[in-house]
C-alpha cells in the first residue's frame, strides 16, 4: 500500500510541475497598476530604436498604460502562429499588408472604423494607395505609419564609363535593356564581374506592362492577363541574353542590401530596384557613391510612373483583452506628430497626406520624387483578396521558373490562374 501511494505521489508531483510550467508564462498585469499592452513589431536596428523612442514617450505621457515593445524580427510567420494559437499581442505591426484580407475575412482582427470615428479619425487622412490597402470589404482593419514606393537607382560613374549619359537615365524598356547590356562586365572565365540589371519582381513589372492580378469588380483572378505575360516574357528574355546559371552563382555572392557589402554599394550591379529607403542605406554604407534615380521605364502603351505599395501595417487582434488601451496607443502612434517623427528618423515616406505636405519631407529631391510617385495614379498595393500571400508565392515561383528554369511564361501564368481561381472560390465558400 505504502509503495503505490509513493508512486501516486510521484505522479502527482509530476503533474503539479507540469501545471506550474504551463501557467508560468505569459504576462499578466499587476492588479491596480497600469494596463500592460503587448506590442509586436517587425522593425529592427535603427528603425526599432526610433520606434522604441516613441513607445517610451507614450509610456511617459500615459501613466495608465504601459506598452511593452517586442521585435519579432523577420519572422512574421510567428505572428500567424500566435493568431492560430490564440496568444496574440494587443497591437501588432508585424503584419504584412498582403495578409490583411485573409485575417480580416476570418474575423481575427478588430475593425477600426467605429473607434476611429469616436476619436475623430478617418481613413481619408491617408494617401489613396494606403487607404485602399488597409480596407477589406468597406471596413478598415489596419493603419500604417509608413508607406513605400518602388523605382530604380543607378550608379552614375558606371553609366559614364559604359558610355551612357549619366544625366539621362533610361525611360523605355528598350533603353533599359541597352543600358543593362552596356554596364555588364564579364570576366575571362565567363563569370560575371558586374551586371547592369536583372529585372526582378514580376508583381511590379506586370503593372508597368499594363497587367493586373485580380479584378476587384468581378472578383476574378487574372494571372494570365496579357500584360502579366508580356512582363514575364521580357524578364525571361534576360535568360536568352545572359548565362543565367552564372548570374545565379554571381548573385549568391551578393551581400545584404542593408550592409556595406550590398551589390549596388560595391559596384557589382549598376542599377538597383529599390525604394526611398535606399537614400538612408546609401548614405550609411556608400556615402561616396555618385548616384541618381528614375521611375520604372515603360514599354509602348505601358503605365508610366508605376510604383508598388505595401509593407507592414498596424492591427489590433480581435483576441486582445484591452481593446480600449490598444486603440489609445495606436491612435497616438498614427497621428501626424508621431508619424512625422518616425518617418523622419528612418527616412520613410509618411502615409498621412497632411504629413507628406510638410516642407521637411519635400526638401530632399529624392523624397519629393517618391512622395509624388506615391500620390500618383499608378500605385499598386496588394489587392484585397484573402489568399493573396499564397498568390504572391506562386507569382514568385513563376518568375523563378521562367527566368532561371527557362519555362514558358504563358503556360506558367495559365497554370497559376487556374489554381488560384480554384483556391479563391474554395476559400470564399469556406468562409460563408
Amino acid at each position: 500500500m505504502m509503495r503505490s501511494r509513493r508512486i501516486s505521489l510521484l505522479l502527482f508531483a509530476i503533474s503539479t510541475l507540469v501545471g506550474l510550467l504551463a501557467s508560468g508564462c505569459g504576462g499578466k498585469a499587476a492588479a491596480g497598476g497600469p494596463v500592460e499592452i503587448r506590442y509586436w513589431t517587425g522593425w529592427t536596428g535603427h528603425e526599432l530604436d526610433a520606434q522604441k523612442e516613441l513607445v517610451e514617450e507614450f509610456n511617459r505621457t500615459h501613466p495608465n498604460i504601459r506598452v511593452r515593445l517586442l521585435s519579432v524580427a523577420g519572422s512574421y510567420q510567428k505572428v500567424r502562429i500566435a493568431f492560430a494559437g490564440g496568444s496574440t499581442p494587443d497591437v501588432s505591426s508585424a503584419v504584412w499588408a498582403d495578409e490583411l484580407a485573409g485575417y480580416a475575412m476570418r474575423g481575427v482582427l478588430r475593425p477600426l472604423d467605429e473607434t476611429m470615428a469616436r476619436s475623430g479619425r478617418s481613413p481619408e487622412e491617408f494617401v489613396p494607395g494606403v487607404r485602399r490597402m488597409v480596407q477589406y470589404q468597406g471596413k478598415t482593419y489596419a493603419l500604417a505609419v509608413t508607406t513605400n514606393t518602388s523605382f530604380i537607382v543607378y550608379n552614375k560613374r558606371i553609366f559614364r564609363e559604359a558610355g551612357l549619359d549619366p544625366e539621362r537615365p533610361p525611360r523605355t524598356i528598350t533603353e533599359l535593356d541597352a543600358a543593362a547590356e552596356a554596364c555588364t562586365r564579364i570576366g575571362a572565365g565567363g563569370q560575371f564581374l558586374r551586371y547592369g540589371l536583372r529585372p526582378s519582381g514580376l508583381l511590379n513589372w506586370s503593372y508597368v506592362f499594363g497587367g493586373q492580378w485580380y479584378n476587384p469588380k468581378t472578383g476574378e483572378v487574372t494571372a494570365n492577363h496579357p500584360g502579366n505575360v508580356a512582363a514575364l516574357k521580357w524578364m525571361a528574355s534576360y535568360g536568352d541574353r545572359y548565362d543565367v546559371s552564372r548570374m545565379e552563382s554571381f548573385e549568391a555572392s551578393f551581400g545584404g542590401t542593408s550592409t556595406p557589402n550590398g551589390p549596388f554599394f560595391v559596384g557589382k550591379v549598376a542599377m538597383w530596384q529599390t525604394g526611398e529607403f535606399a537614400l538612408e542605406h546609401i548614405r550609411r554604407y556608400a556615402p561616396d557613391l555618385e548616384w541618381g534615380w528614375f521611375p520604372y521605364p515603360v514599354p509602348p502603351g505601358g503605365r508610366p510612373h508605376t510604383t508598388g505599395a505595401g509593407g507592414s501595417v498596424f492591427v489590433i487582434p480581435a483576441a486582445t483583452r484591452h481593446p480600449e488601451e490598444a486603440w489609445t496607443f495606436l491612435d497616438w502612434l498614427t497621428r501626424p506628430r508621431a508619424v512625422s517623427q518616425f518617418c523622419r528618423a528612418i527616412t520613410n515616406l509618411p502615409p498621412l497626406e497632411a504629413v507628406g505636405k510638410q516642407s521637411e519631407f519635400r526638401k530632399e529631391p529624392l523624397f519629393r520624387f517618391a512622395l509624388d510617385l506615391a500620390a500618383g495614379e499608378n500605385v499598386f498595393g496588394p489587392p484585397q483578396m484573402p489568399i493573396w500571400p499564397r498568390y504572391v508565392q506562386e507569382i514568385r515561383r513563376a518568375e523563378e521558373h521562367a527566368i532561371f528554369g527557362r519555362r514558358d511564361p504563358q503556360a506558367l501564368l495559365d497554370a497559376i490562374d487556374a489554381s488560384i481561381e480554384r483556391d479563391l472560390q474554395r476559400t470564399l465558400r469556406e468562409v460563408q
Binding site: 504551463a22 519579432v72 524580427a73 510567428k78 494559437g85 545584404g256 550592409t259 557589402n261 550590398g262
Partner: protein, 287 residues
C-alpha cells in the same frame, strides 16, 4: 577454434605494414575532410572582414578579432535564448529520465499481462512520422493556451519517449535477476527495487539517455519553430536561424553566433564521449 595464430600469417608481415600505413593515410585524410568545415567555421568567426573576403582565402586568421562576437551578440539576445534553451533542455532531461526509467522498469522487470503488447506498440510508434501528429498536437496545445510557452516542448517528455524507454529497457534486462529477487526476499516491493537496486546500477544508461535528451532539446528546431512566437521565448536554434535570414550577409557574425551554438555541444561531447558512443551502439545492435 582457439588456436588463433596460423602459420600462414607470418610471411605477409611486410605487406601488412604497408597496408597499415595506407589505412592510416586514408583515415587521416578523412579526418581532415571531416574537420575542415568546423575549422573553417571557427577561424572565420575570428577573422577581420578584410580577411573574410580575401582571395585566395586565408587559412589562419591574423590578427585574431572578437569583434564579430561582440556585434553578433548585440543582434540576438543571446543570454535570454541560452537561458530558454537550457530551461527547456534541463527540464526535458529530468522528465525523460524519470518517466522513461519507470516505464522501462515496468517493461523489463515486472511481469504482467499485456507487457509484451505494450512493448511492441512502443517499437511500432518509432515508425510514425511526426507530421501525422503535428497538427492535432498544435491544435490541442493551442486550446490549452500553451502556444508561446515552453510547456509543449517540455511536458511531453514527462510521459516518456519510445527511444529512451527502449534503451533503458535493454539495459535493465542485463541487470541480474538474482539482485532483484534478493531484494524482494528482504521485503522490497517493486518501487523499492526500482529505487534501491535498479536505478543505482543504471548510471551508465541514465547518463546516455540524459545526454541524448539534452542534445535533442538543444538541437530541436521544428518544435520551437511551431510553438514559440514571441522572440523573448526563442531558443538558440531558432535565434540562429533568424539571424541567418536577417543578417546572413554578415558572414563573420553569422559564423560567430554559429560557433557559440556549436562549441558547447562539442565540449559536452568531449567530456562524455564514452557515454555517447555507448548509447549510440547499444541502440543499434540490440535491435
Amino acid at each position: 577454434m582457439s588456436q588463433a595464430i596460423t602459420p600462414k600469417s607470418r610471411p605477409v608481415h611486410a605487406g601488412k605494414k604497408v597496408r597499415t600505413a595506407m589505412t592510416h593515410g586514408a583515415l587521416i585524410f578523412l579526418s581532415v575532410v571531416f574537420l575542415i568545415p568546423l575549422y573553417w567555421l571557427i577561424t572565420s568567426s575570428l577573422k577581420t572582414d578584410a580577411q573574410l573576403h580575401a582571395w585566395p582565402p586565408v587559412w589562419i586568421p591574423n590578427p585574431i578579432t572578437f569583434e564579430h562576437y561582440e556585434k553578433g551578440l548585440q543582434f540576438i539576445p543571446f543570454p535570454r535564448m541560452l537561458a530558454n534553451t537550457l530551461t527547456i533542455a534541463v527540464l526535458s532531461v529530468v522528465g525523460t529520465v524519470i518517466s522513461c526509467s519507470l516505464v522501462a522498469y515496468s517493461l523489463a522487470m515486472l511481469s504482467w499481462k499485456g507487457r509484451n503488447a505494450l512493448f511492441f506498440i512502443l517499437l511500432a510508434t518509432m515508425m510514425l512520422p511526426g507530421q501525422v501528429t503535428m497538427v492535432p498536437l498544435f491544435v490541442l496545445f493551442a486550446k490549452m493556451g500553451w502556444v508561446d510557452t515552453f510547456a509543449p516542448l517540455i511536458v511531453p517528455h514527462f510521459f516518456g519517449g519510445a527511444f529512451a524507454i527502449f534503451l533503458m529497457r535493454q539495459f535493465f534486462l542485463g541487470i541480474p535477476r538474482d539482485l532483484a529477487e534478493a531484494a524482494r526476499i528482504d521485503g522490497c516491493g517493486p518501487w523499492g527495487i526500482y529505487y534501491r537496486i535498479v536505478m543505482p546500477l543504471s548510471r551508465p544508461v541514465v547518463a546516455t539517455v540524459a545526454l541524448f535528451s539534452f542534445l535533442g532539446a538543444w538541437n530541436d528546431y521544428l518544435g520551437p519553430l511551431i510553438y514559440l512566437a514571441n522572440p523573448e521565448n526563442f531558443t538558440l536554434s531558432l535565434g540562429l536561424a533568424m539571424f541567418n535570414s536577417q543578417y546572413g550577409s554578415f558572414p563573420g557574425q553569422l559564423m560567430a553566433v554559429t560557433t557559440i551554438m556549436t562549441v558547447p555541444i562539442l565540449v559536452l561531447f568531449f567530456l562524455t564521449q564514452r557515454t555517447f558512443i555507448q548509447g549510440m551502439t547499444t541502440s543499434g545492435i540490440k535491435g
